[in-house]
């Protein structure tokens, strides 16, 4: 009896130690490469569990307990209503803006919200950027899950960590390339 209890205790301790020592799963990576004279590269690697633990403790200005206060409406646009309409619609391109020097497309595809910006400015100092943003709809839903006038960043990160590897933002420009992505590796490539 005593021996069995000891074995059970050792197994329990081993499992508890493994769980407690388990590395945080998802990492969020940011990489900024400047192509200018400085040629600077910035790489930031943060475990998502780090953001999840720290965010609720921050109470500064508009960010409190993982939630950012905002107006709720941007240029009289109710974000929640727009999101609900997008979520309930089949995959489609919802917004297309074509200008001589820029095109913007907002679409829903494969459970993701996709935003594409393409700049085609001409001229000596034209610094064109191609921007691609891909956010899972579950993350947008989580972001908008707080009270009116709040963006629940913490819930958004929780939702994001449930997704696998994701390419969130890429900005390819003449002066700068930015990439934000998530994966389970603790290093940038």
């Amino acid at each position: 009896m005593m021996k069995k209890m000891m074995v059970a205790l050792i197994v329990l301790l081993a499992v508890a130690t493994t769980v407690m020592a388990a590395p945080p799963g998802q990492w969020i990576h940011v990489r900024v490469i400047s192509n200018g004279n400085k040629g600077e590269t910035v790489r930031i690697n943060v475990p998502m569990s780090f953001a999840e633990a720290v965010l609720p403790t921050i109470c500064a200005n508009k960010l409190r307990h993982g939630k950012i206060k905002f107006d709720g409406k941007i240029d009289d646009l109710d974000l929640r209503s727009v999101f609900q309409a997008v979520r309930d619609s089949p995959d489609n391109e919802f917004v297309t803006v074509e200008k001589p020097d820029e095109s913007v497309r907002v679409a829903k595809a494969g459970g993701n919200l996709l935003i594409k910006v393409r700049q085609k400015r001409t001229g000596k100092n034209a610094d064109n950027e191609n921007v691609d943003v891909k956010v899972p709809l579950t993350v947008v839903q989580a972001l908008l899950s707080g009270n009116n006038g709040e963006l629940d960043v913490l819930a958004g990160i929780h939702a994001l960590s449930a997704h696998g590897n994701m390419e969130l933002v890429t900005v390819n420009g003449q002066s700068e390339n930015v990439r934000i992505w998530t994966d389970t590796r603790n290093t940038s490539e």
Binding site: P23, P24, W27, K38, G39, E40, T41, V42, R43, I44, N45, V46, P47, S49, F50, A53, V54, P56, T57, I58, C59, A60, N186, T187, S188
Partner: protein, 152 residues
Amino acid sequence: MHPLAIKIPAVIMAVGASIVGTAAIVTYDAGAVRVSVVEKKSHGTNVHVIVPAVLVPAVLEFVPSHNFHMKSGETRKWLPAVKAALRELDRCPDATLVQVTSPGENVNISKRGDSIYIDVDDPGETVHVSFPVPLVRSVVQKLEESNPGPPV
């Protein structure tokens, strides 16, 4: 020679050796704070400081608490965030957290084992700072004790 004349020094030496050994193990286990600044100009200043981390909390006890008083509650409200960050850093696997590389300057912040390593290399100087994460926790605790206030 009386047998006690041999035994007593032998016991004293054994006790002394075990105290030194234990202290060495505790010191090694707790890590150290390392600060190194090397100026690159000729005849530049080189500063190398290594302090066993185990000494720092003891030294903090002797520092008058008014030295830890923060002038505004603005700083105090960040302490919970720092504590949460330290807890997570403890759990976080070894990794390079921030890396900035440019032709003139390199900055590297990484976590290895229990310690945080900060390396800055610019045309003027090379700076290396490393410290064990648990040590920062004791500093934060001292800051909290010296700045009592409502929970933030």
